[in-house]
């Protein structure tokens, strides 16, 4: 019971930590756009920078 909550909190904070750290690391250069945006709809990826701001219907 207690270990479950502790482990969950640990992995959650690990993820948050790495996410924030990664987000604050600047990108080194303009990455070449190799992903085919049109067919990228097949994968609505939460962190896919090509897709994330695109919304549908609203």
């Amino acid at each position: 019971m207690v270990p479950a909550i502790v482990v969950t909190m640990l992995v959650v904070s690990l993820f948050f930590g790495t996410y924030i750290m990664n987000k604050r690391t600047p990108e080194p250069l303009e990455a070449e756009e190799v992903v085919d945006k049109e067919s990228c709809t097949a994968c609505m990826n939460y962190s896919c920078r090509y897709k994330i701001e695109e919304t549908r219907g609203d």
Partner: protein, 257 residues
């Protein structure tokens, strides 16, 4: 042009009422056939009508709850950690749903197997959390969740039903879920023509490809119809304008004369 369109759409959405939010996800913006979201489960767990139905139920559950929670906490979450917070919410609900399925529908749990934990990476849920629930109130988000997931479920059932029928010549239900109709079978008596390949992986790809093509064909047909109607309308207006112009010209000619 494109910008103008989205702006227009956005304006229209403001006064969308609940019913529109609900029905939108079912057909017009069906997440699987129109937006191609959640391909993996659509291929893997649709070897029969009922597994598709079961998976759909789980997705309804997860999507609705995650939409509600995301919408509830949307104001408390700082922008920077919004997305990871959604992931945690979704993963929690998926774990809970997995446990509940194992307890109350063990056969379904067995047959969906690895695809229950994989709901967590189903793009559909993240997309709804990010694009709808994070911007709308709780009630609307819940309705949206149910609607979109229902559309997804219907799509899964369509694929599952097709595959099962082609493969076995019959539709069975009550096998995986604790339905009151246990063991019932709709048998078309086509067992002679069963094609086993359709329950297999290859069949999954082919059936989805087929249905996508059908939906696209409909879409193209509708588009063409609309375009034709619009063309006719434009033609008509042009004619009317030309007529008016001619009359005006005649009138002015007559007036001067």
């Amino acid at each position: 042009m494109a910008q103008k369109q989205t702006a227009k759409k956005g304006k229209r959405k403001k006064d969308l009422h609940a019913l529109a939010v609900f029905t939108r996800g079912i057909i017009r913006e069906n997440s699987l056939f129109v937006l191609l979201l959640g391909m993996c489960p659509a291929l893997a767990v649709t070897s029969s009508l009922e597994t598709g139905f079961g998976m759909g139920l789980l997705v309804i559950f997860v999507l609705t709850l995650s939409n509600i929670v995301v919408s509830l906490i949307r104001k408390a979450i700082p922008e920077e950690i919004r997305i990871p917070a959604y992931i945690v919410v979704i993963a929690t609900f998926v774990t809970i749903v997995g446990l509940l399925t194992e307890a109350f529908a063990p056969a379904l749990h067995e047959s969906l197997g690895i695809f229950i934990p994989l709901i967590v990476v189903n793009c559909l849920i993240m997309e709804r959390a990010n694009n709808f629930a994070s911007k709308n109130n709780v009630v609307l988000s819940a309705i949206d969740g149910i609607g979109v997931a229902l559309g997804f479920m219907l799509a899964l059932m369509l694929i599952g039903g097709t595959r099962e029928f082609l493969a076995t010549g019959a539709l069975a239900y009550g096998v995986y879920l604790p339905l009151p109709l246990e063991g019932s079978i709709i048998n078309a008596g086509l067992t002679l023509f069963q094609m086993e390949v359709f329950v297999g992986p290859a069949g999954g790809f082919i059936v989805i490809g087929f249905w996508l093509a059908v939906f696209k064909a409909f879409e193209l047909y509708n588009k063409r119809k609309k375009k034709e109607a619009r063309d006719r309308w434009i033609e008509k207006k042009k004619k009317e304008a030309a007529e008016r112009k001619r009359r005006k010209a005649m009138e002015s000619a007559g007036g001067s004369a």
